[in-house]
């Protein structure tokens, strides 16, 4: 970090630009490059007259056969120009701190241009892609909320991945044996237990928080793989949970596009949105939130003011674990509806990156999660379109996006001041 600060100070001295302005310039240049790329390679390169059809209704929808037909060439030329405009806007009005919005808009437009190019001359289910964006975002957002609950009180949770995996396992086994609600309860319990383990190791024994998190991941991976090989392979009825059905919300789910996107899901998806709102309200408008944040920012001051730092940390880390348990239950009981070894595949870490991307804010986590969900969803749909990019490279995209995010493309993020610091009561 020292090196970064030094570098920035010297540059600032030379160019008389604030870091935000320099970022604005960088993003502006990137957007211009992106706009030119869209204009020439996705726009002019398409044969004139080729049409891309975006389907706007699913087979289960009330209103059928809605679609949006565009001329791929002129559509992409227009989008290229808009992105160019965004870039120029960032370059000229760099004092305005709207860089992230411009960046997000640019990426969204780029994705549409890419899809129009890939689907030129054929059809593409746009609403299907948007719907799966929301579904694929759920675990990422929940992982980010877990991380946020812990880091707001100064405990780094690298073990989200393991908490998701273990609770998915518990959910699947208990749901297969005793029914859905037992599965859900079991997943929440296991998530909470692993949260407690993290808190216990880091607070009582002051184990390095990152090492404790890695241990949780190892334990979860090893135990679930072992039990899956020793028990589930033997007793396959324990790996057959009933898939939790979607709860269609009347009327709202009939709205074209919006309906299938937001109002035709399992309760996990609604739960995610509720969690985001509740945690936001809790953190910023209640005594619990004030105490949590003060423990994460300045535990010594919080202790002096009479707050029990250890208790606050235990409570939030356990609650965070239970949130991860909710995500694990979604994975095991709704999204996949069975247990597979290492079924999380790094999504907990992507959640962690979403937390950083979202600047440790619940709504930021939601936005970041939707961005990751969108990237994944685009990747899946493009793989179906089969346009010559090897699927392995498409599969890399979410991970590379994560690296770019943590490398600070989103600009300066400020974690809670005491994040990662063990607190030793005097």
């Amino acid at each position: 970090m020292t090196a970064v600060i030094d570098r920035e100070e010297t540059l600032e001295h030379k160019n008389r630009l604030t870091p935000e302005e320099r970022r604005s310039v960088g993003v502006g240049v990137a957007l211009i490059a992106m706009g030119l790329f869209v204009f020439f390679f996705l726009g002019l390169a398409v044969q004139a007259g080729e049409q891309s059809t975006f389907n706007l209704s699913l087979q289960t929808d009330r209103f059928q056969d809605l679609s949006w037909v565009v001329d791929a060439r002129s559509f992409n030329i227009a989008i290229g120009l808009i992105i160019l405009g965004l870039g120029v806007w960032r370059l000229t009005r760099r004092a305005l701190d709207w860089t992230n919005i411009a960046l997000a808009l640019g990426f969204a437009l780029f994705s549409f241009a890419f899809l129009a190019w890939a689907a030129a001359g054929s059809q593409f289910s746009l609403v299907g892609m948007l719907r799966s964006t929301v579904i694929l975002a759920v675990v990422v957002v929940i992982g980010a909320l877990t991380g946020l609950m812990c880091e707001r009180v100064g405990v780094i949770n690298i073990g989200i991945e393991g908490q998701l995996l273990a609770s998915a396992f518990a959910g699947v086994v208990l749901s297969s044996a005793f029914g859905t609600w037992a599965g859900l309860a079991g997943a929440l319990t296991v998530g909470g237990l692993l949260g407690w383990l993290l808190a216990w190791l880091t607070i009582k024994f002051r184990v390095d928080q990152i090492i404790a998190g890695v241990v949780i991941n190892f334990l979860a991976l090893g135990l679930t793989s072992l039990m899956s090989a020793r028990i589930l392979a033997d007793v396959q009825s324990l790996n057959a949970p009933e898939r939790i059905p979607a709860w269609r919300i009347p009327l709202l789910s009939d709205i074209p596009v919006i309906g299938p996107m937001f109002f035709d899901h399992t309760f996990f998806v609604y739960g995610m949105f509720v969690l985001v709102v509740v945690i936001h309200f809790g953190l910023f408008y209640t005594r619990w939130g004030l105490r949590s944040r003060s423990v994460g920012e300045h535990p010594k001051a919080a202790d002096t003011a009479g707050i029990n730092v250890y208790w606050v940390r235990y409570r939030n880390v356990i609650l965070g674990g239970m949130i991860a348990g909710f995500g694990g239950a979604f994975l095991g009981l709704a999204q996949v509806a069975r247990f597979e070894e290492d079924m999380t595949g790094g999504i907990g870490f992507i959640g962690l990156a979403a937390m950083i991307f979202g600047k440790w804010l619940p709504f930021g986590a939601l936005g970041a999660g939707l961005v990751f969900g969108f990237a994944r969803s685009v990747q899946q749909k493009v793989a179906i379109l089969n346009i010559g990019i090897p699927s392995e490279f498409l599969l890399m995209v979410p991970y590379i996006v994560t690296i770019i995010v943590v490398a600070g493309v989103v600009g300066r993020t400020r974690p809670p001041a005491a994040d990662g610091q063990p607190y030793i009561k005097q």
């Binding site: 970090m1 020292t2 090196a3 970064v4 780094i156 690298i158 190791l201 024994f205 002051r206 184990v207 390095d208 928080q209 990152i210 090492i211 404790a212 890695v214 241990v215 190892f218 334990l219 991976l221 090893g222 135990l223 793989s225 072992l226 039990m227 090989a229 020793r230 028990i231 033997d234 007793v235 595949g345 790094g346 870490f349 962690l352 990156a353 950083i356 090897p390 392995e392 490279f393 599969l395 890399m396 991970y399 590379i400 994560t402 690296i403 943590v406 490398a407 600070g408 974690p415 994040d419 990662g420 610091q421 063990p422 030793i424």
Partner: protein
């Protein structure tokens, strides 16, 4: 238990300044790297940790014994007897698979070879204050580079092997160096970037092995063509045993890392950065350069580990999972070996025995080799929380400094 010698170190003035965070980090790293401890004290906690991990592993074998649970209702005594018998059979298979015959010993050494190399990679990072979880990805890139050289360069045996391993060092080093550079330039936390690069490397290998550059002519299988004789690592004890010249390379790497970390200027600067990055800056060291360099070296070591898994693994046709879980085993191993090269070598032998034995345990007793992952996790917990081990065995409280190795996201 004797008083730890660490409490009064005359040549270290920082010790007297109380509970400042820099001194704490220093002490922690000293403990993690075992600098402060006499050798037998350094063995108590790791030894007990391994013992505890074996005990807990036994309990897990009992609890997951499906056949025994089926008769638990009618005849609990027989069920528990069966469970205990299961543990006995499993652990006997584990021991015999690790040391029971010449072949078993060869398997142990063969398995230990990449473990030691990858463990050294993680240890070098730990000593510089970096947590390299990316040995897996670095192994992938290194191993793949070695395969490419093996298939596309035509050289006599010794030169060919050397060139392939050099390619592995460079490829693994670059893959690790990316993380170091990102950390130095942007503060991106190495834990996240290395894990993400692991996935990227895994997909890259998956793709590469399906291209004509690696596939055998006319083959559609996602695996490489057989490597030519000239690039295969020759076995040491004859064709019937798998242990090969890679073991010699691993031993050489142990001494190289010892020399690098404790006898060279660069190693001194690495360790100084690990003790206190800010002090290193004031001493005029370039932390950016050091972070990148150490990740290059770390990645290079992991790359060699990958090469031993491609050039040394019969039948020498490389598939997409050649790195296995070695990258993760390496973390437990580096902690167990206290990040000291010699410690890593012994820990590597122990883990080699555990995994080689675990394979025979899976074959003979039907206990999945995943149990070894659980044991490794437990070993890490117990080593990172020595108080826990002391509490379980009712040992005298000795050193209670927290094991804080890493700091926040920006550090």
């Amino acid at each position: 238990m004797a008083e730890p010698p660490s409490e009064s170190h005359p040549e270290d003035p920082n010790r007297k300044q109380g509970e400042e965070s820099s001194t704490e980090t220093q002490r922690t790293l000293r403990r993690m790297t075992g600098v402060d401890e006499s050798w037998w004290r350094g063995l108590v906690v790791p030894g007990l940790s391994v013992l505890l991990a074996l005990i807990v592993g036994g309990i897990i074998i009992m609890v997951t014994d499906v056949d025994a649970w089926r008769v638990m209702g009618e005849n609990p005594v027989a069920a528990i007897g069966e469970m205990l018998n299961d543990v006995w059979v499993a652990y006997r298979a584990l021991f015999m698979g690790a040391f029971g015959s010449v072949r078993a010993i060869s398997e142990t050494l063969f398995t230990a070879t990449p473990l030691v190399l990858a463990g050294l990679a993680v240890a070098v990072g730990f000593q510089t204050g970096l947590f390299n979880i990316g040995a897996r990805g670095q192994m992938f890139m290194g191993g793949l580079a070695a395969v490419w050289v093996g298939l596309h360069v035509d050289l006599p045996a010794i030169l060919h092997i050397t060139l392939a391993i050099l390619a592995a060092i460079v490829a693994g080093g670059i893959w690790g160096g990316i993380t170091g550079l990102l950390k130095a330039r942007t503060g991106a936390h190495e834990v996240i970037t290395t894990i993400m690069l692991n996935f990227v490397a895994a997909f890259f290998v998956l793709w590469a092995l399906k291209t004509p550059a690696f596939q055998a002519e006319g083959s559609n299988l996602p695996q490489s063509a057989p490597l030519p004789e000239t690039v295969r690592l020759p076995p040491i004890f004859g064709e019937q045993y798998r242990v090969n010249i890679g073991l010699v390379i691993a031993v050489a790497a142990v001494f190289f890392v010892y020399w690098l970390m404790y006898r060279s200027t660069l190693g001194f600067e690495f360790r100084a950065t690990g003790f206190s990055p800010s002090a290193s800056v004031y001493a005029g060291m370039s932390v950016s350069f050091l972070l990148t360099a150490v990740m290059f070296i770390s990645g290079g070591l992991a790359g060699v580990a990958g090469a031993t898994m491609t050039q040394g693994l019969p039948p020498y046709t490389v598939t997409s999972n050649f790195a296995g879980t070695i990258g993760f085993d390496a973390i437990a191993l580096a902690l167990l070996g206290r990040s000291h090269p010699f410690g890593v070598a012994w820990a590597g032998l122990l883990f080699g025995a555990l995994i080689a034995g675990g394979r025979s345990m899976q074959a003979v007793a039907g206990v999945s080799v995943d149990l070894v992952i659980v044991m490794q996790a437990l070993i890490i917990v117990f080593i990172a929380a020595p108080e826990l081990v002391r509490a379980i065995f009712r040992l005298k409280k000795a050193d209670t400094e927290p094991t804080q190795l890493t700091k926040g996201w920006g550090a």
